[in-house]
Symmetry: D2
Subunit: 354 residues, 4 copies
């Protein structure tokens, strides 16, 4: 039985690993600077986004924290800050990596993982109330899916982007799990729409079947200029840059599409989502209570301590919160490597300890 | 014919790539925090260093710049600096990554790539001459092999370490090409001696047959405490940390040793050195003039512009300097992937354009 | 009629200005490094704190933000953070100055300006729940008086200090208005107790009759070592350092004491507090509603927009919040330069617009 | 006898001190944000520079290091550096304050304190030779007078500015001793020319008769936008900002001009220069050897250890270098407060120990 602990427990999906093996002996220039794989991956990503070469840069990062730091420190000047939810990855899970570049996250009070224009407006008004004496908001940070598995709708995303652009702020979308979002049953966004709406975002690879890697799509002029230098300065430039190109090329290559024409990047995420949905429906049918609402590959449930212990032992799920009534909020995460039998086994266990 | 452009042109050496394939389906905890491969690699490295678990930490970085930044920002306080040669990687090739953490490199005037006690002493005296008004030196940074391929002797290394420790400074050794150094014909150092003499160093993987990765050995108490946090804060912590463990495990596993008992980590470097030596001897025999002295896998030669053009076209070698007489200093780099025929082909070309 | 806008509207109190004039022609060494005035001021401050020379350093800063940044960046390592209230000066009013050094403020939900052990404990638990993945709390920041004029009691201060020290955190007290706090009718703390309880704090001068200047008392060993260098590195070291010494010397010199034996530093603050109390009592008697509770030189009242306009025109008071019912929270600030007639005039106006 | 140790040994020149006394009781808004003295000083400075209000901002800093850090961190982006001489104040005397903002000084090999286009070009070529892998030069830093008392000519300044602007770099001029430079017998520059040639510079006050303060004139658009925020974020914003306005107003007020129409700002510096010239000529006449060439208020001489001891005891001069022949380079500094008798006394001593 596989763990359902997280979506970065394994190595790479088979097609992606194979591409690394197949290209291993090639000699390439380093640093993502012109090798054929990075160039082809850039082309495939631009095409998927409906962007021309002069409209956007595509760059490759080794991981999510590094991507967030490079992007936000390039979009913000020293004294500027980024409005985000209080549970944002950049606030909670990155050991102050953004502050280490002198930039400040400015959390709202949004409790559901979605950044709202009303809360952004409140923070904006407060932070601009005494001019130079306060960190000035200059960007907003959103994540699709959210930290708790939420899927952004087009209406929601357009609303926060309209608000931001109306106030002269840029929008950065952390897409560590964007593939899960865009293949969710509740999604009504397209990659093309996102690419034309936000100012920079990335297509996550680490949590969607690659060994590592995130592909950043940058329309923001300031970040386009800054990125190459900041990536090196922040320690995020990989010598064997081709590894990033090879993986994204394999994930997006039409030659790797299935019969329905879907390339691995989406297929892997769709698979994970399907199993997560099956898991959620099964648990709900058994009377378990979901915590929040997720239609993506992370599922949160409020369970008793005994159930938590049983689930953790079986599938390594993590405990996120302890509720006031003593129950635990646990998280199950499916991935491209999860199998239906894993879900069935978990549901069988859940039935026993219900 | 292979390029002799650099030692990070290919993917991974076969044994190492195979280990990644073999372990791909395993589920591991992330972030190098306790998966069996990282743990075993740590053990193998400690053993090779003759260090007990409580004497040193072993941590894994994704690349050299990231490793240098994390280590030095952990060894130095905000107002402290690191004495190094003027051609040091941290001065010249890292886009101010160290300064981006607020720490300052303090270059000497050493012209040969080796940091000398006399120059270190000069910088130390100057930088401490007005107390709080100057960046205070608190560490020294050395590289084995040096930027220009030089191999440190035990006498040299002991001298700078004695000087540093005598002045209360710590020593960091950048080992991006340490495998090449320790398998050089001119080496008289042992890994064990280095590990017991410097305060922190790393065993380079990226330039010695791995996809990426450097293994940091840390005895310095301040850095031991800082490293886990700084690695995350500086964006250098890999989610699928096991990839680093798997590669170092494969490179150092006695099960992968050859008949002479040598594990891949040293065998790959010895191979590169042998070919580099053959290349150097062949060029010298043809009348070419070496630039500086290298007994490692980088070889520098002063050639005419026509020769430079011919060599660059053939093997992609880089041009480092233009001399006053118009000649170019080119660099040939061999790696685990280079073959004897590559050297023979280059020598044939060199004979034609001599 | 004087403005009651803030306590840094004028120059210096007469005794302090006179001392600057009297010593103007003296030649002194610079940078607070050994001139007789800084040395004597250090001695007077240590005596007032009941601290021996080897127990604490006394250093002089040009202003509050500079003092906060130097102190906290010296008490915290790169990845560490400081627990504080959400309205803390370092969070709200310093344009991210602390983040600019890479350190992170970690706000609680305390709504009254006093940092509580319960909230500090909640933040601590959260921030240490995933180890290296989060900013680690290493200090707490408190202000006496608080941002909204609150005066710390000994019980409260001991409680948060006990909590902090019990968890291995240090305590920094921002004393920009400490003179007002310690001369408040509600104060039960002594300078000596504070000096022996917190790890570093400062005696504010800018808001208590000096042209500028804050005197930092440092027991924390890490900050003692860091301070001289950080002060220069953060741009906070004054060339004519004697100006700081001269002012604190004059403010604390027994030769300047009144008949009751009180030196200017306390007398000036006591004067401001007395007038603030008279103002508060007068307004309350007229039916005005205080906002929060202050027994110090800042007084907050909830008033109608018409009253706000009248008060602002008359005494320049600032508006801090707009309440849900449309009322404004305005702040009146008295200082050493305020006079009883100013209060009487304001009360007369308040009666007219009541 | 006055010390000739430095030009910040005393308080303020009488006219300036008097202005502080005269305005002490006025109530002003804080932070240099609109009080009448700052506004008038801004106007006087713009007029002296021949700049219209929309052409340049005038801002006030508390000291030189703070001014340098704010200006350069506002002119440079994170990965950019500033070309300067190796003896530049920002390299040698500021404890890495610029690096603490992540920006990197890029020293040339100019040995005489003047930044030359040839050396700037060499550094530029080197630093742009590998693109993103190196700190990119984006500004140059010059000081008038230089660290060793040199006075820039118009030809020299135009040459480096032309070079910089021709390469897309901006120019920052550190004017800590600009008054001494512009009143030097060897000066052929005008304030107006400087103001229209460099992109930002400051008029030093600390070393020219003020208690503290430097007035920054900013034409660079990036710095104009950044300055207000960076000044607060870097801890360099003074609460009682009017103190800066009052002093510069007094120094530049035509009402304070002498019979020849010269305002104190220039008169004070001219006085110091005259005495320094008398000192230099007298020492040379006695056979003492100048070190370098200065026509400003700092004079350097190479003397024997015995002479050094005698001079230090008499006038507190500092020793800057020890020459290979054992002689010491000492520095004499005159100021607005020096008197002719001081020079005569020193010359008498010099005659005795010659």
């Amino acid at each position: 039985m596989h763990m359902l602990r997280n979506d970065y427990s394994e190595g790479a999906a088979p097609q992606i690993l194979q591409a690394l093996v197949d290209t291993n002996a090639e000699q390439c220039v380093g640093y993502t600077e012109g090798d054929p794989h990075c160039e082809r991956a850039r082309k495939l990503i631009r095409e998927a986004c409906g962007l021309l070469e002069d409209e956007a840069d595509v760059e490759f990062c080794v991981g999510g924290t590094s991507a967030n730091v490079i992007a936000l420190s390039g979009m913000l000047r020293d004294w500027e800050g980024v409005i985000c939810t209080p549970d944002a990855h950049i606030v909670v899970h990155e050991t102050g990596a953004l502050a280490a570049t002198g930039r400040t996250p400015l959390p709202t009070r949004d409790a559901d993982g979605f950044l709202s224009p009303a809360e952004a407006e409140r923070v904006w008004r407060f932070q601009t109330s005494t001019g130079r004496h306060m960190t000035r908001p200059a960007a907003v940070y959103v994540t699709d899916t959210t930290e708790v598995g939420g899927v952004w709708t087009r209406e929601r995303l357009d609303a926060i982007c309209d608000w931001a652009h109306g106030h002269g702020l840029t929008v950065f979308l952390d897409g560590a799990r964007l593939a899960s979002a865009l293949t969710s049953s509740e999604n009504d966004l397209t990659l093309e729409h996102i690419a034309h709406t936000v100012d920079a975002f990335y297509l996550g690879g680490t949590k969607n079947g690659m060994l590592f890697g995130e592909a950043m799509v940058i329309r923001d002029p300031r970040l386009r200029e800054a990125f190459p230098y900041l990536q090196k300065e922040r320690g995020g430039l990989m010598a064997k840059g081709r590894l990033l190109g090879v993986q994204f090329e394999a994930a997006l290559d039409p030659a790797n599409a299935d019969q329905g024409g879907e390339v691995p990047y989406w297929r892997l995420a769709r698979h994970a989502n399907a199993l997560a949905g099956q898991l959620r429906d099964g648990l709900v049918a058994l009377g378990y209570e979901p915590y929040g609402h997720s239609a993506s590959n992370q599922q949160f449930f409020a369970v008793t301590p005994e159930q938590q212990a049983a689930f953790e032992q079986a599938v390594g799920c993590e405990t996120f919160y302890v509720l006031d009534d003593g129950r635990r909020v646990v998280r199950f995460v499916t991935s491209w490597a999860s199998e239906e039998q894993d879900v069935l086994d978990l549901l069988a266990l859940a039935k026993r300890v219900a």
